[in-house]
Amino acid sequence: MMERIWDERIQIVAVILFTIGFCTLLVHKNLLKKIIGLNIMDTASYLLLTSMGYVEGRLAPIIRGGNTDPSAYVNPLPAGLVLTGIVVSVSVTALLLALTIRLYRHYHSLDLDKIYELAAKEDQNER
């Protein structure tokens, strides 16, 4: 059992990173820390994806010397998928930061509870 856990250590680290990001997302009230937690979750999923395509002792999928034997290279597909994930994560982070800036300009706080309370007061005042 311990040997199996040691063999799967990279995927287990990815799972633990995912949980850390998830807990960061839930525990912190600061919006910036929530965004950081989301980014940690993204990174964990990239680690899991890339580790799926890895094979001990094989080369990166760049064809050298006309050797097209599939048993000589690792899988190129997870690399392409991770590239997609990284680009989407960058875009989502930029959008979230812009929304956070707008919220901060309006409420002068990054604390989600205070923002909720101020928004509720604002709604009462408008009525």
């Binding site: 799972v15 633990i16 839930l26 094979v55 064809i63 392409g80 997609t84 800036i101």
Partner: protein, 297 residues
């Protein structure tokens, strides 16, 4: 106030396009509930049931995280073993990509062949995601630098001609740009491609903006050039790859040849597509920095 499409296009072309009044519904900024001169004052909250509940949340989250990670670790142990070649990831798709990829696409780098030839529409979608994120950030943040002076870092427009910074930037920026161009042009021959090369060139632009001020960068990269270049790159990508896929699906001779694998001018459309992606990524990175730093492009 309704305006015709022609008038809107004229305004857009003349750089007078104001997003906040162009729609049929005029947007109105709600006034902030706090006075703008008192940014440091944060109101104290009342002790409510929700506040008391929030003290228990970390403990509950810790327990939830522990359970979640235990379940996920059990799932991971059931997956195919790490580093073994008999997992279902290595199916006939992988075999086809490695065996015939170089011959069919002309790219030595199989990853570039996959993302820019076999699955080029996926990469087109990625590029459009970046573009859409930039447009959304511009809509959210443009046009507030006059009404709200309180948030910006003071002195952001003052060019401090720091001799160390400017000299180092003059030395470093050409090397960084050439390195980025090398990564983009080398995308089908080795590790690299449009995304990482574009990020490197964008970082060179950001360094130039830091060292010499935004005004000196604006002489060659401004709102107008970024707009035109982004649209041209995206249209080129869509049209050329659409033409290539259309010809390939219908068995028409498209005139795009894979060439000799290993040469720099080979691999058909992969090099121009990498260049288009690099242009989009570098412009997006610089624009995001500029919008976040000073509230406009």
């Amino acid at each position: 106030m309704k305006r015709s499409l022609k008038e809107l296009f004229r305004e857009w072309d003349a750089d007078r396009f104001d997003l906040s009044v162009s729609g049929s519904v005029p947007q109105k900024e709600r006034p902030s509930p706090l006075p703008p001169e008192r940014y440091d004052v944060i109101p104290e909250l009342e002790e409510t049931i929700m506040r008391r509940f929030h003290r228990v949340v970390p403990v509950l989250t810790f327990l939830l995280g522990l359970t979640l990670s235990l379940f996920l670790i059990m799932t991971v142990l059931e997956l195919p073993a790490f580093g073994s070649s008999d997992s279902p990831v290595f199916n006939e798709v992988f075999t086809r990509y490695v065996q015939d990829g170089t011959e069919e696409t002309g790219a030595v780098n199989t990853v570039a062949g996959v993302i820019l030839d076999y699955r080029a529409f996926d990469t087109l979608g990625e590029t459009h995601v970046l573009y859409t994120a930039l447009v959304a950030v511009l809509i959210l943040l443009l046009g507030f630098e006059k009404t709200d002076p309180g948030i910006r870092t003071p002195g952001y427009e003052v060019i401090r001609q720091d001799p160390v910074l400017t000299t180092c930037a003059k030395l470093v920026i050409p090397c960084v740009v050439i390195y980025g161009l090398y990564i983009i042009c080398n995308g089908h021959l080795g590790p690299g491609g449009g995304f990482c090369g574009g990020t490197v060139i964008g970082s060179a632009l950001i360094l130039a903006a830091l060292a010499f001020g935004f005004d000196s960068v604006e002489r060659f990269v401004n709102y107008r050039t970024i707009r035109v270049v982004l649209v041209i790159a995206l249209c080129f990508y869509s049209l050329s790859k659409g033409y290539s896929f259309f010809c390939g699906a219908n068995g028409i001779e498209s005139g795009i040849r894979p060439g000799t694998p290993g040469r720099i001018f080979s691999a058909g459309l992969i090099l121009p597509l990498n260049a288009a992606v690099g242009v989009v990524v570098s412009c997006t990175m610089y624009s995001l920095y500029s919008v976040f730093r000073r509230g406009r492009l």
